[in-house]
Structures are given as C-alpha cells and as structure tokens.
Subunit: 390 residues, 2 copies
C-alpha cells in the first residue's frame, strides 16, 4: 500500500528516536521540522534557499490552494513539486484545521491572506463542512472524499485525513461527538485514498480527543487499527504548557511505534525538545517564518533578552547600532552578510529584503536545531543539546 | 587625484566603446548597467543574487539615505559596502535629482517610499536647496559641500557633483540660469571633494543645459575644464525619443573621450543601444527592478506582445496556464525554477516571492544584454546584437 515509502528507527535514546522517512522525493532524517509554504510558497524564499539552509520538507495548505488557484489548476501544472520548484518531500494538510480554526474565528490572524475577521464556517454536517472561501467569498464544500481528491491533485508526498479541528472551548460531550465524526471522516478519507492509490502518496491519520485522556486513548486506538502510513496529533492540547505535555505524552503512549508521528502546529524550541523526548518525529508551525516577517529572529539562550522569548525583535531601537550578525555562530546567508543594524534599518525603511533575510535565518536556525537534536539522540546526550538551545 | 581609479578603452567600433573602469572594489566592464539600490538595498534582492546574476555595480540614493538613517549612521557602520554586504563597485548620486524631481512633483511615483504627493522642495538659493524630508517631514538643507560630505560618509566608489535637475517645462532663460548655478555648485562640490580626498572615491561632473544645443555645449566645456573623474549626462533630454538621441549625440560630441560617460536615468533597451552607439559607457534606471515589482518581466522581441513594450505583464490572465519560463534561453534562477504560470499565481496571491523572482530575472536580463553588447563591440557586429534584442 505504501511501497514507495518507508520509516525506520536508526537509533533511540529513552523515548526519543532518530529515524529515516523515505519518500518518492527523498529521505527525511527525523526528528525534523516542516516549514509552512501555505499558499505554495514559503513567503519570500526561493527553493534554492530552502536547499541552502538544509530544509528537508515543506508543507502547503489545502484550504488555501482549494480556494485559489484550485487543485485542478495545480494538477495541470504538474503538481506542487513542479509548480513550486521545490523537489524535496512535501506534505499537504486536509484543509480541516483552517476551515474550523478560521471558521470559528479563534485563530483569525493565523493566516495573513484572509480578507475579513468574519467567521467563514457556515455548517458542519455528517457529509462534510460548508464554508465561505477566504479568497472570493464563494461557498465551498469540503468532504473527506473531496479533501483526498484535492490532495491527490496537489500531489504532495504526504496527505492528511480530513477531520474536524474541535474548537478550543468545546465541552467534553461535543469533543467526543466531534471526535467520533472525525473518525468516520478519516475512514472515508482512507477509503478514498485506497481507491485512487497510485503509490506516489501516503496518508496520515489524525488523533483527536482534546485534553481528555479517555478520548485520546480511543482515538489512538482508532488510528492504530487503520492502515495509515503515519500519525498526526491534532486538536487542542490544552491551555497551558504542562497540560499540553501531558496530553502529548498520554497520546504517544497509545500510538503504534512502527509509524512516524507528527505533532501538528508546534514550533517552540522548548516544546520541540519535550516532543522529541516523548518520541515525536516531526513538527510544523508557521511561527519561525511568521515572526521573521515581523522582525523576529530566533536566537539561542545566552543572547536572548528574556528567558521566555526565543527570539529578538530586530525592530527595536536597541539594534540601531548593533554591528553583530543575528547570531555569531550561525552559518546562514543572512548572518554571513548582514548586521543586526542593517536588518533593523531595512525593517524600519520597509524594505522587502528584511523579510526574506530574517526568514532565511529562522529556517536555518530550526534546521540546525533539528540537526543537533538528531546528533544528541545518536550520542545519547540530548540533555546537553537541550541546555545549549533552551 | 584618482590614483585608485582608472578608465581604459579596450576596443571600439564606430563611436561605441568597450572599456574597463577600475575602482577600489573591482573592475567594471563597460558598457555596463547600474542597478538601483535606492535605500541601500536592491529591493528584495540579496547581495549574493546580485553576484549570481553577474551584476557589476549598483547605486544608492543620497536623498533617501540622508533623510533616513542619515549618512553618519552608515559611516559608523563602516560605509555602504559593509552595511549592505555588497562588496562590488557602487555609486551614490548627489541628491539633486530627487530633491528637484520629487520636489516639483513631476516624477512623483519615481520613488515608492515617499509618503505624500505634495511637492517637498521649499526653496532654491545660491547656497543650496531647502526641502522637506520624505521620511519625517523635517526641514533639510542640501548644499554642494553637504552633498559631498554625505557621499563621503556613505563611502561609495563614485560620487556625483551636486546640481539642480532643471524642471522639464522650464524655458530657456531659466534653464540657462539653472545650468550656471549648477556649474557653480559643481565647482564647489569639486573643491570640497579635493579638500577631503583620501583616494577611496572618485567624482562625476554633470552636464546640464536641457534640450538646448548651445547650453549643452557650454556645459560640456565646463565639465571638461574641471578635473572630474567622469561625466554624467543629466537634466531633461526632451519629450520625444528622437530629441533625446539628438541631445545625447550633441552632448557626447563635446565630451572628453578620456573619461567614462554615464547617461542618467536611461534603461530602455532601444535607448541603451542608441546610447552605446553614441559612445555612452554606463546607464542606470529604476525601470528593470521597478517593473518587476508590478509583474513586468523583460523579454526579447520574438516573444513580446507588442513592438513598443519591452516586457510582458505576468499579472495578465493569459499567463494562467503558461508552463514556460519567462524566457526559454535565460540562465537566471527564476527561469530555471519557475513557470510563468507560477509567477502569475504568486502575483495574484500577493506572495512576496513573485517580486524577488521577477527582479532576479530582470537584473540577469539587463546584465546579459550588456554582456552581449560588449561582445558585439569587440566583434564589430553590434547591429546583429541589436537585431536580437530590439
């Protein structure tokens, strides 16, 4: 069923594991970070820059590409790899997260391309979800079958089963009903995937269940019983960090350890270490690339301005005369060529280059972090790596 | 006086000449095109991309950098080369063009960074010009001495003497008075330059005189009699192309052929061939990089949509399904990786990458044009090169 894909664990240390995911577009060394190319482009970044910063895998969002330019259009152009010029591994999500999170208006500024703050979700039915396009206001319908069809047309290596991203403040009763419907949707996604499987793509199942241990357990069982290639941990993980770690830990305990595990939407450095220590293989988040476009440059602890914040804001006047690069020990293009003072100036002067330059640094930073995490697992000294980065 | 600079003509064909300008930051093979890095950045482009596209020289605008962040700030950062990471030859203009052209409100949208359409020039005196900063509305004063001081602090290889860019619709009487004042200003610029000359920079004189042959003749004589390193042809060149060619031809006839000649603000392909045929060595214009940010991609004749327009507009829906690169024979990054359909999509989706990608193509296009012009002069078949590009 997944003959062109593979996953093997090369080494492990505690629950942390060093692995390799094989795809038709190359190998991914795990733990790995997946960068967001929401609308079929990592904003301001050429594919060559992704390669130069040792990026292994990027994702694109089904919701955005469904609304514009449409999956048929991208299929005609040869699929996402050909269209974007990125020839490495790629993932598309199911569209569920954006429909529901944007739809309920809860993470409204998640996506910059959105034209209004008005919730766009119109109705959730057993069949699927009906919502307004962020692009042109037209009424769109997404079902599990449709999501898989779109993702097949987009042609990424990995696609994700369609689910409902349960609202953050739902009660347990709604969370349970929603989870059960997500399971039915995931089953339909899998059936549709199998019907059209040409072995060029592999399907992720998603675990839901909110912060409720018993629901998470049932959801891990559901996913484990069905032949998904890999597992994504979705839905709300709680309000506080400690709760998140507990929910992830509990969920990890229930998962099949033969499959890669992806933790959706998590990109903080401390959180990544926690996830890796619990056995998570891949992460994604808009955070590193989004903060870059607002002047936020990721940075290691000795040079941070506070314990809590993992980046510095280069718009601040304290960088006006700072001739150092963002990080002295960083080998990225930006740190080799530009000072903080120049980046500060470019931001203030509204020069485009600032956005690409800081994004390049943040991508390289995250890839370097993941490289050192992998070495830490191999050398069984992940705690030393953690001390350096957290 | 210019011991670290040099100019030699290697070969010529008719009045066209193949030359080498030597600077402390490397050699420039001429004819050459100078790209605009108005606010100390070629918009959206890393220095490495400039090198990858064989860019020889860029310029920055004194007016903009004087207003923000100030020349002292850039001096403290080590000058423009260190500040921007561009280590090749660089030129700064005198500030005159922007003060007067923006000031009179005639080429208002020349500069995107400007905050209002209100003319900003307040007064022209014998001493200099008084105007409002486009950046924060503060009152600034620029004199020949101040312009040279600023340009010395900016530290580009080439600086330009301060002049008045005579308004387009001036009568001959005003044009003559303005020219005479510009000559006095240029003399003061030269005196100030000599006072502080540390041999790291060289000074261009400017020829004014509008469309009047007798005035242009007097201006070329003025410039020729003073020890400028090179000559720039400034001011209005007329309303129609034919008049422009006549004014440039007449001006070229009066110039010292031992000095390099720069034609200010000209970047059309046909115009560049005309200029080269009249002996011009270097050109600059915002056109190639500015149209890129609006979706305009430079293109050679067989694929143009009209005889008049030297670029195609990738925003047009005709490119929605066009899987070709901008140009099949272009070796730039963008043409190697992206189709017109993808660039069209990125423009429509307001993705940043479109702007950098088309700019990269246009820069490479202009550099390739100049390369082939140089080969054409060497091989005495510039007309064949012209037939390919015009």
């Amino acid at each position: 069923m997944y003959r062109n894909f593979g996953f093997s664990v090369v080494s492990s240390s505690g629950k942390s594991r060093l692995g390799i995911i094989e795809t038709p577009h190359g190998r991914i060394k795990t733990p790995a970070f997946i960068f967001c190319g929401t609308k079929a482009s990592v904003k301001g970044i050429f594919p060559q820059m992704l390669r130069d910063t040792n990026t292994q895998i990027i994702l694109a969002n089904t919701y955005h590409l469904f609304a514009y330019p449409g999956a048929e259009c991208i299929k005609k152009r040869g699929g996402l790899h050909k269209f974007t010029g990125w020839n490495g591994p790629m993932l598309t999500d199911s569209g569920g997260f954006q429909i529901f999170s944007l739809g309920y208006g809860s993470v409204a500024d998640e996506i910059k391309g959105r034209r209004s703050g008005i919730p766009t979700l119109m109705r959730v039915e057993e069949q699927g979800a009906i919502f307004r396009s962020y692009w042109d206001g037209s009424v769109l319908r997404l079902t599990p079958e449709k999501s898989v069809e779109i993702q097949r047309n987009l042609g990424a290596d990995f696609m994700v089963a369609f689910d409902e991203c349960t609202p953050y403040h739902s009660d347990k009763n709604y969370t349970e009903q929603s989870m059960e419907r997500s399971h039915r949707w995931e089953k339909r996604s899998l059936d549709e995937f199998i019907r059209g499987n040409d072995f060029s793509q592999a399907l992720y199942g998603i675990v839901q269940g909110g912060v409720h241990f018993d629901l998470r357990k049932r959801s891990t069982e559901f996913v484990g019983e069905h032949p998904f290639f890999a597992t994504a941990i979705g839905g709300t993980l709680g309000a506080a960090k400690e709760q998140m770690y507990e929910v992830v830990e509990m969920t990890m305990n229930g998962l099949d350890d033969k499959r890669p595990v992806h933790l959706l939407g998590i990109g903080g450095i401390v959180d990544i270490f926690k996830g890796v220590e619990l056995g998570v293989d891949t992460f994604d988040c808009v955070h590193p690339t989004r903060i870059a476009r607002h002047g936020g440059a990721l940075i290691k602890p000795p040079y941070r301005n506070s314990l809590q914040c993992e980046h510095i804001n280069l718009r601040r006047s304290r960088y006006l005369e700072d001739d150092n690069p963002i990080e002295l020990d960083c080998d990225c293009f930006t740190c080799k060529e530009f000072s903080r003072a120049y980046l500060h100036y470019l931001l203030k002067a509204n020069e485009l280059l600032a956005l690409s330059a800081i994004t390049v640094h943040n991508i390289r930073f995250m890839n370097k972090l993941m490289e050192e995490i992998r070495i830490g697992i191999l050398n069984k000294n992940l705690h030393c790596v953690r001390d350096k980065w957290c």
